[in-house]
């Protein structure tokens, strides 16, 4: 047990948590945007997967940042497709999400097989680029706390910093700009903004595009930093955990940040535990993030219901 505590409170584990949280956080922010605009984006996992593949294939031929942009762009395109079918073709958004999920699980394997000439399931013959870690070792120069600061802040993925920045940016956008107000109004009660002359379908469409682009960015982080390369179904349900994180984070950017880090921590635990306790069956360790998500969902639902009951009794 002691070893576990030592591990958990080490700088290395902090780095692991930040690494595992980043793709989750990006996808969760995507889920948040869609959710606040009134559309439950159940395709997050599929979009991440598509983002992974796009990033891997493009970064094989180009510098890493182009690969990242490819993941982002692939996500945005999928989001535009979703918006088209949901808003123009009046298809149920959840069913559109299912379709994108089906497209992603099989389509990525198909596309990889085409891109590599027959490889199924892994991109081992297609070495991809990697997102560089941001080196802040100059912080060492600060007397006293320098090494600690370096341990905490240095060596994270470039996208981890982007994700942290995005939490603030999205908070600012949602609560300090008129467009953020539009978005929340469209999700809350579409008739009101429509009566006020706000182009609600435009707001919804852009929300879906941004939501999917963020999930695609999460995919890029997953395939170019957490793992290098693509494997079939490599997201392993992260997009769905992100959906849970949106709920757990009370649909607020900062709450969502904490939820994503919480789930990321348990995800990180699954990578650390096998080394520490070899007697725990690996299957049970791999269950942890999913069990934690269910527990969090249940606890959050109890809390939300209690809040609702309080409001009702008043």
């Amino acid at each position: 047990m002691n070893e576990l505590l030592v591990t958990i409170f080490s700088a290395a584990f902090l780095a692991t948590v930040i690494r595992t949280s980043t793709p989750l956080l990006l996808a969760t922010l995507g889920g948040l945007i869609a959710d606040l605009s009134g559309a439950l984006n159940v395709a997050l996992d599929g979009i991440m997967l598509i983002g992974c593949l796009a990033a891997v294939i493009v970064s094989h031929y180009t510098p890493w940042y182009v690969g990242v942009l490819a993941g982002l762009g692939a996500g945005a395109i999928v989001g535009a497709i979703m918006a088209f079918f949901h808003l123009r073709m009046k298809a149920d958004i959840i069913i559109v999400g299912f379709a994108i999920g089906a497209l992603a699980t099989g389509g990525t394997v198909f596309a990889l097989s085409i891109a590599t000439g027959g490889d199924k399931g892994t991109s081992i013959n297609l070495p991809s680029g990697a997102i560089p870690a941001v080196d802040l070792s100059f912080l060492n120069a600060i007397p006293g706390i320098g090494p600690v600061l370096t341990g905490i802040f240095s060596g994270h993925s470039f996208l981890s910093w982007v994700a942290a920045l995005l939490v603030f940016a999205i908070w600012y956008f949602l609560y300090r700009t008129p467009w953020g107000l539009w978005l929340r109004a469209v999700g809350e009660y579409p008739n009101a903004p429509e009566a006020a002359g706000i182009p609600i379908n435009k707001v919804r469409a852009w929300s879906l595009v941004v939501s999917a682009a963020l999930a695609g960015l999460g995919g890029a982080q997953l395939a170019m930093f957490n793992f290098i390369g693509f494997t079939a179904n490599m997201t392993a349900g992260r997009g769905f955990i992100a959906l849970g994180a949106v709920l757990l984070g009370a649909r607020h950017p900062v709450g969502v940040l904490f939820a994503a880090v919480l789930f990321g921590a348990f995800d990180g635990l699954t990578t650390v535990l096998p080394g520490l306790f070899s007697w725990i069956p690996p299957e049970l360790i791999r269950m942890i993030p999913f069990v934690v998500t269910i527990l969090a969902l249940v606890l959050f639902s109890i809390r939300a219901q209690r809040a609702l009951a309080l409001r009702g009794s008043r």
Binding site: K90, G187, M287
Partner: protein, 373 residues
Amino acid sequence: MSTEAAAPIVVASAAGNMRPPSRRSIAGREIGRAAIAVIIAMIATVIIIFFVSKSPTDAFMTLLTAPFSKTRTIGLWVDDVAKLTVTGLAFSLVFQARQFALGVQGQLYVGALAAAYVALSPIGQTWLGLPLGVLCAMIAGGIYGFLPGIAKARLGANEIVSTLMLNYIAVELCNFLVRVQLVPPGSGLLTTDRFPKPSLYPVLVPNTRIDLGLIFAILAVLIVWFALYRTSWGLKLRLVGHNARFAEYAGIKSNFIMVSAMTAAGALGGLLGSMFVQGQAFGQLTVLFEGGFAFEGVLIAIVARNRPLAVPVVALFYAYLRQGAQLMNIRTDVPAEVISVVAAIIILLVASQFGLPAWLKRYAVGNRAGATR
């Protein structure tokens, strides 16, 4: 949260149902829409195959004709139809109640585990092995469907997230139990022994995979249809799915309906698990034996518009495409996964409320007017 998400759906479905409700015209429109979706999807397939394959005509002909070429492949097709029908029914049942529960995969694994425990126990050697295996699988699946149902009813826990998480847990549970308990010691494989013969489904057509599962699938269609359209439970369920608030005002206990629908769908998922492991296709429990099959039921249910009697028809077509794609994968240079692209296109188009192009509409409407006269 779920209410906000559901709001646009309710609006959309209400708008869709405002047209005069002539049953035959609705059915005709649905079938027409499905046919158009399939045609567009097939055109897309041709285009994809044309770009991907070195010999596109061979590949496409394999996709379209191979499943019907031999008794064995026909058997594979029929077996697939039976299984797709059951997963399609399970999804239809919950979708009709407007619950987007995606738990069939998990129910399938726990059902398969329950069936395997029965079949590999001493009971499995007796005639009891078969019925008890099926029963236990259905109970296990039912429980696995009940849990997210009650969490949703009591706490409002989002059923999409909870069922998906339960799927992953069931997969890992199956991996764990097979490795630790069910595999004979020292084999090193992640597959159990073959189940004893009394526990296996009897073969209906010799030298094929067509077995008792087909009968179960047909029975399941009839039972689900009867339950949905000929019982008060079914009427309430469809009312809840159509307009939960109205149903609530009408005095229907929508929570009870929701939980029972998810439990019944879970039992179907469990049955499917038994059909896999006790059927001729496997006859044993292997880790990850399902490979995402359960989710094909989403497509079946959506294209069939959640109608139990339409489910086997859609399954018939889709299973044919699936088998064709598998054989195309083996015999030509086109990967079988092309089918998922086709599936996505079909789902998107069937779910869309697109109008026909003006010239086509004029033609179709003119025809119909002529036919009624």
